[in-house]
Amino acid sequence: MLLSILAQSAYLPPRASTVAPEVDGLFNAILAIITFFCLVIFAAMIVFAIKYRHRVGHEGGASPGHSTALELTWTIIPTIIVLTVFYYGFKGFLNETVVPPNAYEVQVDAYMWGWAFTYPNGHVDPELHIPKDRPIRLVLSSRDVIHSLYLPAFRMQKSAVPGRYNRFWVQATRLGEFPIYCAQYCGQNHSEMLSKVVVHDPKEFPDWLERASDLAKQPGFTPIKAGGQIVAARGCLNCHHTDGTASTGPTFKDLFGKQEVLNDGEVTVDENYIRESILYPQKRIVKGFGPVMPSFLGSLKDNEIDWIIWYLKSISANYKGDMSAGLSGGAVATSQAAPATKPAQ
């Protein structure tokens, strides 16, 4: 355990953004200042405590009750120090606040308990993929409560507040993957509201975006596989487990075709009920669960909902139908062109 701490001896995360060196520079400067003052104060206290300790034959001496010169000195010096620290903190903050003009924009939508990053072409991804060396402007909002998008390697953080847009920008200086945390407490699964930043080579980023935008174009595509990727990527599995245990929402296992008891009435989980629950989750809620699921209206495409339905069928013992369309790579072409109002299946 001790070794694992020593191995990670650095006390700051890796530096992956343009502002990180400046933030760390100030951090280290403050660390030096406070180390100096702690040493001076503790040393004075310990020396006085030993030298002037009560013992036989020792008597306290006289010293002035105050000294204007001394007191002004230790008022003015800290004042200068804190003003200097303020200045550099403020300067760093200005650099973090003023967005360069050619920034690439990504929309961030936070929800309990996941992140949805929307790229300019409309693709929604649970991870933040960005090209290296290009300013990225992030526009944040939340579907439910306040969250906070925290990128330690980028030394950046901003709250995602429902009903307003917050903005910040970053520019990656290193290729690789870096963690994303939610840093504003948001309920039961706050600590599992994780994701990552993936920094791409600028030349390869457009390829990634094109590939990611269309699951059907990915190698080995089947509707079932794509549905599985979507429920994992969009945070569905945070609340809907696949192992048969109920969590914040009912389990996905054996859900399709099951007879569910609602708060008022009953329903057989079929294609229509699944589609309705994804787009209008508050309409018919299974008994014992709260009205907490966010709507995916406008954020999941029709073909994606179809794939989710295929995925649910594939993990349900209650579905007795033919599975071949879900397993074939070509089955999707028709539904892809479907209008948004078309009822599923």
């Binding site: 953080q157 507040v161 840093a183 599992e192």
Partner: protein, 600 residues
């Protein structure tokens, strides 16, 4: 000299004293029976009852601290194999720990316990200015505290055992109750009810705080004895005065916030809820407008205790009295202007961020002055390592470190990196727990002989304090590192790279518990088996040491005349009687007062 001629005993009370009580009679033995305590108007008994109350709250908050640290030993669930239930339990635990510690322990500990006990005696008065109001404050506190704890514990019992207590909604919002999570957008149908119930508890507690503030301010204005001008007041009184100003001005804002939440819920006015046109960030402004000054409600009286203890046990006049006194008032005023530094990433305007950052740094200066003054007070002293003094030195370590790490947080660009992480947790625990707890213990050890007439055992007390110091640093130093590395706070589970720090931190929490139990046994042992305490075991010169230990029911049979509160040299140790003896002639010369009958 005082501009106001102080009434002798308290406003509206007769000036004539009853005949001196029989020898040996003190406030503890003055009357008997539980009712004589519960309805006592005696500030000393009220102080002792607060002591029992806040220590009970401290025990409850402490148990939940140990539970949540134990949950964090591993990233996986500890107390429940079901992750969802384990996380819910953890979220209730940290909320209860924070809320109980803040509202029921750290805020009332020093003003309500030590303030109530020593303030009137330091003033040479019979009681506070409004003794009945003081009892009313106490009952507000008890009512609010029981209600508040019941609501929070109810949720834990529900989450752990499925027991549904009526009204025991529970709360898993953290002690900050941020909207809109706290107002029903969560996975728990009851979270709004829990928030409103808990804020009702805080509302009632707030009245206790406000009324105590009113009482202390009136007492300090009206009851100062002959010889005690403003700049002859013990620094503890300056600190309590500054604290009371904050209590009166800031607490109503929290009450208003609670009422606005209620209005939003009942009438449906959109204030904080974005779904009906409110702004959740507005809630944060309201909340921190109270809760930032509240940090100074915690730390200012702690500073007052430290000024008394360091001076007395170093046997030196406190250094830079005026600077310490003025810095208390400066801190109280500046504390109202810095709340926005809790919200640098919330989306408030960059200009507001810059202004709040600048103002935040201004608070650092008076705080630094105090530390320099305390250390200088020890210079050329005759330092006794009593447990009170050891705790006060631990306070200096905690406060210096906690205060200086605030520089990281005041600096905007650094704050944005570490806000919402364990760095914040570590920082405010150093200031609000390390510092305030050690100051509270220093005060308890300093005034324990006065309160109960018994001396504490030196070796066990010091061992407990040093164990606590080691445990505290073991708990919170790793939290600074993991915070700087990006570990967010309020996480029931965490990436495995942080486990090493969490394990050390949890072990530290257990060591703290050992230290605190040692201290608890040490204090209880003193009550039962402690050596009898003389009137002035430390040779201190503030007025409470001029009356017997424990003090009689009405403190002083004859109204005392105050001298220089830090004139320690006039008390000389008499080896023959093993007592501190006052050289009255010298004391009068130092104080520059006319010879009068001086009772001691």
């Amino acid at each position: 000299m005082s501009a106001i001629t102080p009434p002798a005993h308290g406003i509206g009370l007769p000036v004539e004293r009853e005949p001196s009580p029989p020898r040996g009679d003190n406030y503890l033995t003055h009357s008997r029976g539980i009712l004589s305590w519960l309805f006592s108007l005696d500030h000393k008994r009220i102080g002792i009852m607060y002591l029992v109350g806040v220590l009970t709250a401290f025990l409850i908050g402490g148990i939940f601290a140990l539970l949540l640290r134990t949950e964090l030993l591993t990233p996986g669930p500890t107390f429940n194999s079901n992750k969802a239930e384990a996380w819910t339990f953890y979220n209730h635990c940290f909320t209860l720990h924070g809320a109980v510690m803040v509202f029921l322990f750290v805020i009332p500990a020093i003003p309500a316990v030590l303030g109530n006990f020593v303030l009137p005696i330091m003033l040479g008065a019979k009681d506070v200015a409004f003794p009945r109001l003081n009892l009313g404050s106490f009952w507000c506190w008890i009512g609010g505290a029981i209600f508040f704890t019941y609501v929070l514990l109810g949720g834990i019992l529900n989450a752990s055992f499925g027991w549904h207590l009526p009204g025991g909604y529970g709360l898993d919002t953290g002690w900050t109750f941020y909207t809109p999570y706290s107002t029903g957008q969560g996975p728990h149908a009851h979270s709004t009810d829990g928030t409103i119930a808990a804020l009702l508890g805080v509302f009632i507690l707030g009245f206790s705080s406000i009324l105590t503030g009113v009482n202390f301010i009136a007492s300090i204005h009206m009851l100062r004895p002959k010889g005690m001008g403003w700049f002859r007041m013990p620094l503890m009184l300056w600190a309590l005065y500054a604290t009371s100003v904050i209590q009166i001005l800031a607490t109503p804002v929290l009450a208003i916030t609670g009422l606005l939440l209620l209005a939003e819920r009942v009438i449906g006015v959109g204030i904080f809820d974005p779904a009906i046109g409110g702004d959740p960030v507005l809630y944060q402004h309201f909340f921190w407008f109270y809760s930032h000054p509240a940090v100074y409600i915690m730390i200012l009286p702690a500073m007052g205790v430290i000024s008394e203890v360091i001076s007395t046990h170093s046997r030196k006049h406190v250094f830079g009295y005026n600077f310490i006194a003025y810095s208390s008032i400066a801190i109280a005023l500046l504390s109202f202007l810095v709340w926005g530094h809790h919200m640098f990433v919330s989306g408030q305007s960059p200009l507001a961020n810059a202004i709040f950052s600048l103002l935040t740094f201004s608070v650092a200066v008076p705080s630094a002055i105090k530390v320099f003054n305390w250390v200088s007070t020890m210079y050329r002293g005759d330092i006794r390592f009593t447990t009170a003094m050891v705790c006060a030195m631990c306070f200096i370590v905690m406060f210096t470190f906690g205060g200086l790490t605030g520089l990281f947080l005041g600096a905007l660009s650094n704050n944005i990196h570490v806000t919402g992480t364990y760095f914040i947790v570590a920082h405010f625990h150093y200031v609000m727990v390390g510092s305030v707890l050690f100051a509270f213990l220093a005060g308890l050890y300093h005034w324990w002989p006065k309160m109960f007439g018994r001396m504490t055992d030196l070796a066990w007390g010091n061992a407990g304090a040093l164990t606590l110091l080691v445990g505290f640093n073991l708990t919170f130093m790793p939290q600074f590192i993991m915070g700087a590395k990006g570990m967010p706070r309020r996480y029931a589970t965490y990436p495995v790279e942080f486990q090493g720090y969490h394990v050390v931190s949890t072990i530290g929490a257990y060591v703290m518990a050992i230290g605190l139990f040692t201290i608890a046994f040490n204090l209880l042992h003193a009550l039962l088996k402690g050596e009898k305490a003389p009137a002035n075991p430390w040779g201190a010169n503030t007025l409470e040491w001029h009356c017997p230990s424990p003090p009689p029911h009405d403190n002083f049979p004859v109204e005392p005349v105050a001298g220089d509160p830090y004139d320690l040299k006039s008390w000389q140790w008499d080896e023959a009687t093993k007592q501190w003896v006052l050289d009255e002639q010298r004391a009068r010369t130092v104080a520059g007062t006319e010879p009068t009958v001086h009772h001691h």
